[in-house]
């Protein structure tokens, strides 16, 4: 039986798919996941899910909206103007930059 494994690196972060393990039951799957996926990378928590419990919808069946470039939503996009004239605008842009970076790393 195949179990899909999701790893969370730090508390509060998302669990992200990192591979799978073959195991006869849930307890063994958790143990194998620890050994195979929890030791080399920083790990706070692991999820194991029976592969048949994962449902999929792919781009053959659905049109995903995520292809649209959403750059217009970010302060950093408007780089022909300078935010430094107002501390609160500069701070907001900095927070957005941090959030975008965190999203990219996730």
């Amino acid at each position: 039986m195949i179990w899909e494994v999701f790893r969370q690196a730090k508390p509060g972060k998302y669990h992200q798919h990192c591979g799978n393990v073959h195991a006869p039951d849930r307890e063994m799957a958790k143990l194998f996941a620890q050994i195979q996926h929890g030791r080399r990378m920083q790990t706070n928590s692991l999820w194991v899910v029976p592969q048949e419990e994962v449902s999929e919808v792919d781009s053959d069946e659905a049109a995903f909206g995520g292809a649209t470039d959403k750059a217009y939503r970010w302060a950093m996009t408007y780089n022909r103007v300078d935010a430094s004239f107002a501390a609160e605008v500069e701070e907001s842009e900095e927070e957005q930059r941090e959030a975008a970076k965190a999203q990219e790393e996730a």
């Binding site: 217009y72 939503r73 302060a75 103007v81 609160e88 605008v89 927070e95």
Partner: protein
Amino acid sequence: MDIEEVKERAGPRAFSPKDDLPEEYRKAATRMIQFHANSEVMGGYLDKQFTRQAPSLDRKLACTAKVQDEIGHAQLLYRAAETLGVKTREEMLDELEAGEGKFLNCFHYPVDSWYEAPMIDFFVDGGAMRRQATLKATSWEPYAHAMDKVCFEEGFHVKHGEDILRELMGSSRANQEKVQKTFDVWWPRIVQFFGPPNKDSKHNDFAQQVGLKTVSNDELRQAFLNAYIPKAEKYGLELPEVPKIEYDERSERYELEYDDLDWEEFWTIAKNDFQGSDEQIGSRRKRHEAVAWVRESMDAWETSQRAPQAAD
């Protein structure tokens, strides 16, 4: 807690729903946050016009994204006001469409041209953001928390607004003249955005004593003028002669002739009695009625999800 203790303990994020607060504080906080929430809704309504007027697809996308943000801010704020236990979110929305809800002066003037976009999206939003940044230190914790999220998003609005101004002022002479003409009309309203001078403000002292406001109208206006007059000049805009504003080298402050501003119009607006108020509030009321079916079907769905009661 009595009002004296509130004044003593007032500080950034000092009070939360677990505190037993006197009615005077809860009512003052409700009035202030409801005003703010209403202004987000009405600002969003004013702004939606710019999606139609925007000259490019990029601008249209940014304008719709901004309206979506503003309506989201209103929701956050109505929730923060609701936690005071004075009015429900529904009551506040009903008051707004009935013409009883108060909101910022600049959102009582209907807009119809793209040249007005930088007036709202750069100057008015910039002023609002300056004020909101100081409210991160308000004494009502849920309000301050809402400001964290609001200020995070506003940076995009203000920079986008400035980018529109930059673009228009870097284009044809005809465009530059139209922006200047629009600025002449909007500038006095923008200066009034921060409300009456401290001496004429009804609620300022109490709001500061209990930590709801951390900075007075006049101080905020001063900070705004300091940051935004140089910006206007940078893009080649000239300040209209009225109201008279002079920079005092010694005090490093802009001295404003308050009596040059139309306070009669300001106070008419404050009562929702201005002709533009009718138009703007009516637009909101029509929308609210048009989507009544969504609220009804959501309520119906929620009712149908409740577990059936046992017959015995």
